[in-house]
């Protein structure tokens, strides 16, 4: 698995969004059991799934500033439904991370993480 970062400032490795209300979505459109965790340096965690619906759609209040972020995607094939994953993370309506593929035959899970900065104006 390889998480791809998107729409970041290529030099700063940062996504800039308008605050303080910031919308975050985490979702997966594949068949594997997938978990996505987005952790921010202010201690905020977002986790998909949480049993509430197809996509985690949350709004958080972030004062203007610079935040370190980590996104972890874990795709599992436990003979529940299928093997493919198509994960997406958006912040402020902008896609910031995606992962796409299929859990390799004979493996139960695949994982990856990425780090970036979030600048809230």
């Amino acid at each position: 698995m390889q998480i791809e970062l998107k729409n970041l400032d290529t030099v700063e490795g940062a996504l800039t969004v308008k605050g303080p209300q910031v919308e975050v979505t985490l979702g997966d459109a594949g068949q594997a059991n997938v978990t996505i965790a987005l952790s921010l340096s202010d201690g905020t965690h977002f986790f998909y799934p949480d049993g509430s619906g197809k996509v985690l759609n949350a709004t958080t209040t972030l004062p203007p500033g610079d935040y370190d972020c980590v996104v972890v995607v874990n795709a599992m094939h436990l003979d529940v439904f299928g093997t493919t994953y198509r994960s997406k993370v958006t912040i402020g309506g902008i896609t910031v991370a995606t992962a796409q593929g299929s859990v390799a035959a004979g493996q139960k899970s695949e994982q990856d993480f990425q780090i970036f900065r979030l600048i809230v104006r």
Binding site: D9, V11, P49, G51, V55, T84
Partner: protein, 389 residues
């Protein structure tokens, strides 16, 4: 002790068998109940093909490999494909797990549980190799989505304890330390350099593995719990057809059999389960007549069963069943009793006492007979077929 129990069971069995009103009582406890399961659920079942010969298609690549195998020598030994389009990852047919598990998504759940299958093999009959083919479609549907193991695998994450993000916290801590060391926020180059270091750091690997284990354990526990529910409400529909052809150049392809089964299981509270089964096997060829004029037969089974489960550990079951079983029909696989009552009680670890009382048609006449049987079974579960299967 075990011998004593067996002896007592044997004596009891003989005594109760002697109570039979007419004719010979059935000798097997499972004969008292109709087979209410979904019957033939795949093309492989139509041909009696071993499940090991069936390839389950999970990706588009699997589908291509499986189709190419159909024309290979492998097919001669018996070959089958099981394909659930919604779970395959094939664009246009696949349903995401999120869509399948979303509340109110009935059509997606129906499609997600629809499996198509194909099988072929060679069967020797009277020294002649006949080629057999079969196709089938099977659909099953949980009436209560929360009882569906697939939905349960996602709903497990409603519990906060399943949402582990220890790796994220550790990685953030490492980023914070690097920020202090550098004296400024990490730019893109520094982020990727740090990521490379962290990917090889044991504590990060362990945290990632722990997060995955927490999630995986939650999913497996939820699926196991959902599957273990003995009286989940479920309906299933299966339709299949098989064909047989002799190797002669001008031989026509004959219908092997047509199967259609509609089965339902409706839970009644925590303790009850109502099973309904309607199964018809039509145009079933008598294989002994293939060399001459093929003869065909048809059978229909309709059965209703109510099962009551008692005890905290479901250690006692009471069963009442009515079916249209016709033991005088030579084609019927459902040579069961028209009416049957039963009680299964767990008397010890892996030990079940099973009692059946039933009334069936006499094979060689139009009359009916009553028979009873008491048996002791050494197994983790009763002889009862798994409800809802």
């Amino acid at each position: 002790m075990r011998n004593l129990i067996l002896m007592i069971a044997g004596v009891a069995c003989a005594s109760i068998s002697a109570l039979a009103a007419e004719g010979d009582p059935k000798g097997n406890i499972s004969d008292f109940l109709a087979n209410i399961d979904a019957g033939v659920v795949s093309a492989g079942d139509v041909l009696g093909l071993s499940s090991s010969a069936i390839t389950t298609v999970q990706t588009p690549k699997d589908l291509i490999v499986a189709l190419s195998s159909a024309s290979s020598d492998k097919a001669k030994a018996g070959f089958g494909i099981s394909f659930t389009p919604a779970r395959s990852g094939v664009d246009g047919m696949a349903v995401s797990l999120a869509d399948y598990t979303a509340p109110g998504n009935t059509t997606k759940r129906l499609w997600g549980a629809t499996t198509f299958s194909y099988a072929q093999n060679i069967q020797a009959i009277s020294g002649v190799d006949y080629r057999q083919d079969a196709i089938a479609v099977h659909l099953s549907y949980y009436l209560d989505p929360d009882e569906d193991p697939v939905v349960a695998s996602v709903n497990a994450f409603k519990a906060a304890g399943c949402r582990s993000a220890q790796s994220g916290d550790q990685i953030l801590a490492a980023m914070a330390a690097k920020r202090v060391e550098l004296g400024h926020s990490l730019n893109a180059k520094e982020q990727q350099a740090l990521r490379g270091v962290l990917q090889g750091t044991l504590s990060i690997k362990e945290a990632l593995a722990l997060d995955a284990k927490v999630a995986g354990d939650c999913i497996e526990a939820a699926v196991k719990k959902a599957k273990a529910k003995w009286n989940a409400s479920q309906i299933a529909l299966t339709a299949g057809q098989g064909w047989i052809r002799s190797p002669a150049a001008d031989a026509a392809r004959l219908t092997l059999a047509r199967h259609i089964t509609l089965s339902g299981a409706v839970g009644a509270g925590n303790d009850g389960l109502l099973n309904l089964t309607l199964r018809r096997v039509s145009h079933e060829v008598d294989l002994t007549t293939l060399a001459a004029t093929p003869q065909y037969r048809t059978s229909t089974l309709a059965a209703v069963r109510y099962t009551l489960g008692y005890g905290n550990d479901r250690d006692t079951y009471a069963i009442a069943e009515i079916s249209n079983a016709k033991a005088d029909s030579p084609t019927l696989s459902n040579a069961a009793f028209k009416y049957a009552l039963g009680v299964d009680h767990k008397v010890g670890e892996n030990m079940w006492l099973e009692f059946r009382l039933g009334r069936s048609r006499v094979v060689d006449g139009g009359g009916q007979q009553t028979a009873a049987l008491l048996g002791l079974k050494f197994a983790p579960s009763t002889t009862l077929p798994k409800p809802g299967s």
